[in-house]
C-alpha cells in the first residue's frame, strides 16, 4: 500500500507540465490540471458555487434539482445525473460512480475542520482525483470564489461573482454601521410545521440573520450553536418582533393559533416566508445562494435603510448568479409571503 501511494504521488508530481499547485483552505497543496473541464461538487454546499461559476463543467449534482427548481437552472445543467454526497456525514456517493463520472477535480465548499480535511485527503488518495476543500463561511466567500475561479479556469466570472458578494457586504456594513443597538430587530427563525425548531445564535443556519443586522433571539447556552427545539413559552419570553420561517405549513397556520398570536411578531404581522428558489435564500444549503437572503432580510428589518425593491435586486441576482431571466410571475412566486404589506399572500 505505501508504495502504491508513492507511485500515485510520483505520477501526480511528474506531471507538472499540465498541472498547477493550489493551496486550499486547509493548507494542503492540491495539484490541479491546467485545463479543468469536468468538476464534481462533493455536496449540496459546493454544487451552488459550481453551478454559478461553471455550469458547463459540472459532471452531476449531489442531489438532482427538484421539479420546482428546474425552471431556474440553465438547460445544460438541468438534466445532469445525481451522484450523491461525498462530504463525510451521511455519504451517499459511491466511489465507483465518482470515478465513472471522470471528474478532473472534486471540491467541497464549507467547513474546513480537521474532519473534513482528513476526508478530503482520503478521497484524494482513494480516487487519485485532486480534492479541493474551500472555506464556505460568509466572510471568506469572495476569496474562496476567486480560488475556485483560478482552479476551474473561469477567473473572469469568479471575479464578477466575488465583486457582487463584496459589494453586498460593503453595502450592509455602510448602511448598518450607525444602527443603534436598541433599534436592532429581534428575529426568531421558525423551522418545521410547528415552528418550534430554530437555529441558535452563531449557527450556520442563522448566520445571515445576524449578518443582516438582526438579533437572533435564540441565544445559545454553551458551545457551538446548531439546530435546537424550543418551547412556545420560550418564544413568548424572547418576544421576537420578526419571525422568519421557511416552512409553508407553519406560515399558513401560525396566524390562527391563539398561542402564536401572543408573539409580538405575529401581532404586528411580521412573519415572513423565506424564499427557497432556485436555491434557499437563508439556508439549505448554507452556501453563496444566501447572498440574496442578506439583502432580503436587511430590507425586511430596516426598510428605510434598504429602500430598494427586492424584486429588482432578486432579478439581477438570479441573472448574474444563475444565468436565468425570471419573469414577473416567477418572481411573484419566488417571493410569495416574503414581503410585508399588501404584496403578501
Amino acid at each position: 500500500m505505501p508504495h502504491l501511494l508513492a507511485i500515485c504521488l510520483l505520477f501526480l508530481l511528474s506531471a507538472p507540465l499540465s498541472a498547477r499547485e493550489l493551496g486550499d483552505a486547509t493548507g494542503r497543496t492540491v495539484v490541479v490540471p491546467d485545463r479543468v473541464e469536468r468538476v464534481m461538487a462533493a455536496g449540496p454546499n459546493a454544487a451552488v458555487p459550481l453551478y454559478v461559476l461553471a455550469p458547463a463543467k459540472m459532471v452531476g449534482w449531489p442531489s438532482a434539482p427538484r421539479p420546482n427548481e428546474r425552471e431556474f437552472i440553465v438547460p445544460a445543467a438541468r438534466d445532469l445525473p445525481e451522484l450523491g454526497r461525498l462530504t463525510g456525514r451521511g455519504d451517499t456517493a459511491n466511489v465507483e460512480v465518482v470515478l465513472k463520472a471522470k471528474p478532473d477535480v472534486i471540491f467541497d465548499f464549507g467547513s474546513v475542520a480537521p474532519t473534513y480535511a482528513s476526508l478530503a485527503e482520503r478521497v484524494e488518495q482513494q480516487t487519485g482525483i485532486p480534492y479541493l476543500l474551500v472555506d464556505g463561511r460568509l466572510d471568506k466567500t469572495p476569496a474562496s470564489i476567486r480560488l475556485l475561479g483560478t482552479a476551474f479556469g473561469v477567473s473572469e466570472r469568479a471575479e464578477a461573482i466575488a465583486r457582487y458578494v463584496e459589494e453586498t457586504e460593503q453595502l450592509l456594513n455602510q448602511r448598518l454601521k450607525d444602527l443603534p443597538e436598541a433599534a436592532r430587530r429581534r428575529v426568531y427563525l421558525a423551522r418545521q410545521p410547528n415552528g418550534l425548531e430554530t437555529g441558535l445564535r452563531g449557527s450556520i443556519n442563522t448566520e445571515i440573520i445576524e449578518r443582516a443586522g438582526g438579533v437572533n433571539v435564540a441565544e445559545r447556552a454553551t458551545g457551538r450553536g446548531g439546530i435546537a427545539n424550543v418551547s412556545i413559552e420560550q418564544v413568548l419570553a424572547w418576544m421576537p418582533d420578526t419571525i422568519i420561517t421557511w416552512d409553508a405549513n407553519f406560515f399558513a397556520s401560525h396566524a390562527t393559533d391563539p398561542v402564536w398570536a401572543a408573539v409580538p411578531a405575529v401581532v404586528n404581522k411580521r412573519v415572513f416566508l423565506a424564499p427557497r428558489l432556485p436555491f434557499g435564500w437563508i439556508d439549505a444549503p448554507p452556501s453563496i445562494n444566501r447572498v440574496i437572503g442578506l439583502r432580503w432580510i436587511a430590507g425586511l428589518l430596516y426598510p428605510d435603510r434598504f429602500p430598494e425593491d427586492i424584486h429588482q435586486v432578486a432579478r439581477e441576482f438570479i441573472k448574474l448568479f444563475y444565468q436565468t431571466d425570471v419573469s414577473d410571475a416567477q418572481l411573484d412566486r419566488i417571493l410569495a409571503g416574503a414581503q410585508p404589506g399588501e404584496r403578501r399572500r
Binding site: 449540496p44 454526497r85 456525514r89 451521511g90 451517499t92 423551522r191 418545521q192 410545521p193 410547528n194 418550534l196 425548531e197 441558535l200 443556519n205 435564540a218 441565544e219 445559545r220 447556552a221 439546530i227 435546537a228 427545539n229 424550543v230 418551547s231 412556545i232 413559552e233 420560550q234 413568548l236 419570553a237 421557511w246 409553508a248 405549513n249 397556520s253 393559533d257 391563539p258 398561542v259 401572543a262 434557499g280 439556508d283 439549505a284 444549503p285 448554507p286
Partner: protein, 339 residues
C-alpha cells in the same frame, strides 16, 4: 394480613401525593414568568367569571403550560400502564411497550410525515396509524404461523417487523433533506412535548382512556394470565381472546401518546418494575401504582426538559440518563420482587 394492607394503602397515598406535588411544581416552573393574577384570572374564566381579553400570562398558563403538564402526566401514565400490561401478559420483566413494534411503527409514520412535509396533525395521525398497523401486522403474522409457543412467536414476529420498520426509518433518513427534515426526524425520534396543544390532548386523552377501560375491567383475568396460559385456561379464562384484548388496549394507549410525544424509551420498562417493588406483582394493584408513578416521573422529566436550558432537552435522553442509574441502584438493593 391487615398490616400489609395498611402498608399498601400508605403506598397509594404516597404515590398520589407525589403526583400532586410534581403537578404543582411542573405548573409553577417555566421560562415565561407567571404570577398569581394570571392563574386566578384563568381559573375564573374557566368558571365563566372572566372579563376582558386574556393577558399573555393567562394565555401561557391555559394554552401552553396546562396542556403540556397534562400531556406529560398522560404520556407517563399511558406508557407505564401499557408497559405493565405487556409485562404481565408476556410474564417477562424485560418487556417494554415497544415489544410488538408499536413505537418503531409510530416512528416510521412520523418520519414519513416529515419526509412528505405534512402539517403537524398529519404527522401525528400517520404516527398513530402506523403504530397500530405495525402491531396488527405482528399479530396477524404470529396467528398465521401457528407456533407451538404463542408468546414466543408473537415476540419474534414483533422483533422481525420492528427491525423492518427500523430499516425503513433509516431509509427515510437517507432520503430526507439534510438541512430541513433530518434534524426534525432526529428530534422526533428522541421525544418531546414542546409542541403539545389543547387540541392534541382532546384527541389523545379519550383514546388513552379507551385503551385503559378494558385493562381495568379485565384486571382480575389479566392477573390470572401471569400464572401461565395452562393455569389460566384451567381457571376458565379464554386466553387467546384475552391476549388479543390486552395487546389491542396497550397498543392503543402507546400509539396515541407516542403520536404527540415522539418516541420516549425507558418509562414503560422501568416504571412497572419500580411499582412492582412497592405494591407487589398483582396486576390489579400494579396497574394504578404504575400509572401514578409513570405520570409523576414523566412530569419530573418534562419539567427538567424545558427548564435545564433555554432550548428543549429531548425527553428520550433524559429518561435514560435519569432512569438508568436510578434503576441500577434499585436493582443493586437486591430486592427480588418479580412474582
Amino acid at each position: 394480613m391487615p398490616e400489609r394492607k395498611t402498608l399498601r394503602t400508605s403506598v397509594v397515598v404516597l404515590l398520589v401525593a407525589a403526583l400532586v406535588l410534581t403537578l404543582i411544581v411542573a405548573l409553577a416552573i417555566g421560562p415565561y414568568p407567571l404570577n398569581w393574577a394570571d392563574v386566578s384570572r384563568a381559573a375564573m374564566r374557566l368558571f365563566g367569571a372572566g372579563e376582558g381579553t386574556a393577558s399573555p400570562g393567562e394565555v401561557v398558563f391555559v394554552r401552553v403550560r396546562l396542556p403540556r403538564v397534562a400531556a406529560a402526566a398522560l404520556v407517563g401514565a399511558a406508557l407505564a400502564g401499557a408497559g405493565t400490561a405487556y409485562q404481565t401478559l408476556f410474564r417477562n420483566p424485560l418487556v417494554s411497550p415497544d415489544i410488538l413494534g408499536v413505537a418503531t411503527g409510530a416512528g416510521l409514520g412520523a418520519v414519513l410525515g416529515i419526509l412528505l412535509s405534512l402539517p403537524v396533525a398529519g404527522i401525528q395521525g400517520l404516527a398513530f396509524l402506523l403504530g397500530l398497523a405495525t402491531v396488527a401486522l405482528v399479530y396477524l403474522i404470529s396467528a398465521a404461523l401457528h407456533g407451538h409457543d404463542r408468546t414466543l412467536v408473537l415476540v419474534l414476529s414483533g422483533v422481525v417487523v420492528g427491525a423492518l420498520a427500523g430499516a425503513c426509518i433509516s431509509l427515510v433518513k437517507i432520503l430526507a433533506d439534510p438541512y430541513d427534515q433530518l434534524p426534525a426526524i432526529t428530534f422526533w425520534l428522541l421525544g418531546s412535548l414542546a409542541g403539545v396543544k389543547v387540541g392534541d390532548l382532546a384527541v389523545v386523552a379519550p383514546l388513552v382512556f379507551a385503551g385503559l377501560i378494558p385493562l381495568v375491567l379485565l384486571r382480575w383475568r389479566i392477573g390470572v394470565l401471569s400464572l401461565g396460559d395452562d393455569e389460566a385456561r384451567a381457571l376458565g379464562v379464554d386466553v387467546s381472546r384475552l391476549r388479543a384484548i390486552v395487546i389491542g388496549a396497550a397498543t392503543l394507549m402507546t400509539a396515541s401518546v407516542v403520536a404527540i410525544s415522539g418516541v420516549i424509551g425507558w418509562i414503560g420498562l422501568m416504571i412497572p418494575h419500580i411499582a412492582r417493588m412497592m405494591v407487589g406483582p398483582n396486576f390489579d394493584r400494579l396497574l394504578p401504582a404504575s400509572m401514578l408513578l409513570g405520570a409523576s416521573f414523566m412530569l419530573l422529566v418534562d419539567t427538567l426538559a424545558r427548564t435545564l436550558a433555554r432550548i428543549e432537552t429531548p425527553l428520550g435522553i433524559l429518561t435514560a440518563v435519569l432512569g438508568a442509574p436510578f434503576f441500577l441502584w434499585l436493582l443493586a438493593r437486591g430486592r427480588k420482587t418479580w412474582g
